[in-house]
Each structure stands twice: as C-alpha cells, then as structure tokens.
Symmetry: C2
Subunit: 197 residues, 2 copies
C-alpha cells in the first residue's frame, strides 16, 4: 500500500476542499461523501442517518441510551455497525493511491506504510466566515455551530479510537488553513506526496 | 513586526536543528541557548538553574514548595522572575526577523503579525535513537527520559500559558520530523517564510 493522504479537519477549515484540490493535482481520487454513499448502499441505512451517527456525542441522554439499546438486536448498536462497514470501505479505498477525508481514516490506516496523516484547522473567525459563505449558515449561529460540530467529531473520534482528536503528535502534518491559505496547504501536501510517503 | 518563526518541539525531535537550518537558509539569526545566556546575564542566575526552571513540573513535592516560598523575598518566585526576564528578551529578539526555539515564545508572541508558530514532533523510536546518537544518552533510559522531558515541558507551558502544549490548533504548522525528514521540514518552513508570513 502506498500513496494515501488521510485528512482530519475542524469543521469549516476547508479540509475537504484542500483534499479535493490535492487529489486533483496528483491525479488520484478523493473520497469523502463516497464513503457515506457506499456505507448506505452496503448497510441499508439512510445517508443522513449515517452522517449523523458519525458525529454523535458520546455523552448520551437517558433517551439516547434507551434508543441505542433498543437497536441492539444482534448485540451491536447501529453506530457500531456503521463503524465496521465504514472501516471495511476505507481499507478497500486504501488499496490504491487516493485522498480520504474524515471518518477516522487516519486511525483506521494508522501504522500502514505510505500513508500521510493530515490535520487541517483554522481560527474561529476564518471558519465562521467560511461556513456562512459556503454552506449558507446563519452568521449569528456560526461560531456556536463550529464548537458543536468539533465537539461531536472529537467525541466520536475518542469513542472509536481511544485517542484525542487534534493532538499534533497524532498527525504527520497539521496546517492552519486560515494562516497559510488554502493554496499553500495544497502546495505543501502535493509536494510531500511527490517526494514519496 | 514581521518574519519570526517560533518553534516548540518535543525533546529529541530535531526541532532545534530544524530551527538552526531554516535560519541559516533564510540568512536570519536563530535564538535558542542565547535566550538562557541573556537571562543569566541580566538576572544573575546560573545558566543551568535557568534551564532547569524552564522544565519544572508544576506538581511539586512539599520540599519543592517549601524551597519555592523560601525564595519569595520580594513576592515573586525565582521561576517567575526568570519568566519575566525571558519574556522581555524574547520580545526584544522579535523586533527583527529571526527564528526562536522553545521557551514558550509561541505564547509570548501570540497574535502578533508576521509570526509563524511551529510544532515539531516525532515518534518515540526516532527520538530515542536521536538522543542516544546526538546527546550520548544511555539507550536503555532514552524512552523514559523522553517522556519525562516532555511532561516537564508540558507542565511548564501549562503553568505560564494556561494552554495545552502540542494541541495542533495552537500552531500554524506541526510537522513529524521522523516521517517527513529533517530536510523536508526545513524546506517547508523556508518556503512558507519566503511566501510571506
């Protein structure tokens, strides 16, 4: 296995755009929504449900816990089923050069040769402006939504990987897209890839 | 103020070497030991004492606490005095382009324009091999010493900055020198600097 870039990112930090641009320059595919689509196809769960399960806070209400155990017909929660399916799909994608965005791919492919683990982040101002512009989010709520999304991603990550999300030592490179600019981030990743992982 | 690179680093990750090499390529000074020397000159404390105070764990023994309060003749601990002196010296160095390694310079210069905050890290194997080779450390103790040094740096950083050491979002760029190689880290930092901070 060789030549895989996996990108984890703060919400609104342009991690997905950086992944897509880098893949385009390198002439390799970028998988992001495709993972969810494939999980949906293989598991029968709706895409939106899968997406929500991937950002589920680990501290559940009693109702959340009750619903979760009601779902455990075969001893696995729906979230666990999605995790297993997702893991399989990511390992499949990683059999040839590509960029993979999100879904704990950094953890799933950890320790494999030829994998570059990337974390993209930016300050709240850059991200809030970006989600208002790109996703049409309400400006007043943007910062609250950022914190909420990051918290959910961190909790999901922690639950399945038992590792802290966003700790520099867990990635080969972490970039502030607000400070450096999206283009420069793409330049750096493309250059590292071409030098050989 | 423009054109300052500040480097925080895990012990043994070659952060100092990367700083020195980057500065050399850019034709600007790199401050590292110079900070301690200047603090020694201005404060009268011995260099070794200053160095130790910069890696002082915040969880002290009763003896440590007793000695610290015995030192507070004028309401400031020696460690606080060193911090104040060090801060002044770092701000002085930062009045013209340079590279600064360690001593919480990233925090001291936080929010200023034209500053690039860098974190260098590497896995334990890379670092252990490096400290045995470079510093003549005993191989058997190397990994223990790494953990101890990092813990002290993190505790000192936390005490004076109230921020977590090594969290990706606190740096503009974080690099794994073991994975990427020292040369590549220097290339990336030199290139970012030349593109303008």
């Amino acid at each position: 296995m060789a030549g895989i870039i996996v990108i984890s990112r703060q919400f609104g930090s342009a991690g997905r755009t950086i992944g897509k641009e880098t893949a385009k320059r390198l002439g390799i595919p970028c998988y992001d929504r495709e993972i969810i689509e494939q999980v949906a196809e293989n598991s029968g769960f709706a895409k939106e449900y899968i997406e929500n399960q991937g950002e589920y806070a680990s501290h559940k209400t009693w109702l959340g816990r009750a619903l979760e155990s009601a779902n455990r017909f075969d001893g696995m929660s729906n979230q666990d089923k999605i995790w297993v399916e997702q893991r399989k799909i990511i390992l499949g994608f990683a059999s040839s050069p590509c960029v993979i965005v999100g879904r704990c791919a950094d953890y799933i492919l950890d320790g494999m040769d030829g994998v570059l683990k990337v974390f993209i982040h930016a300050d709240d101002k850059f991200r809030a402006e970006r989600i208002v512009r790109e996703y049409g989010e309400d400006g007043g709520n943007a910062e609250k939504r950022l914190k909420d999304k990051d918290k959910r991603r961190a909790a999901y990550y922690k639950k399945y990987t038992e590792t802290e999300w966003g700790v520099a030592a867990n990635y080969h490179i972490a970039l502030d897209s607000g400070k450096l600019g999206i283009e420069k981030c793409v330049d750096i990743l493309t250059d590292i890839y071409k030098s050989g992982l």
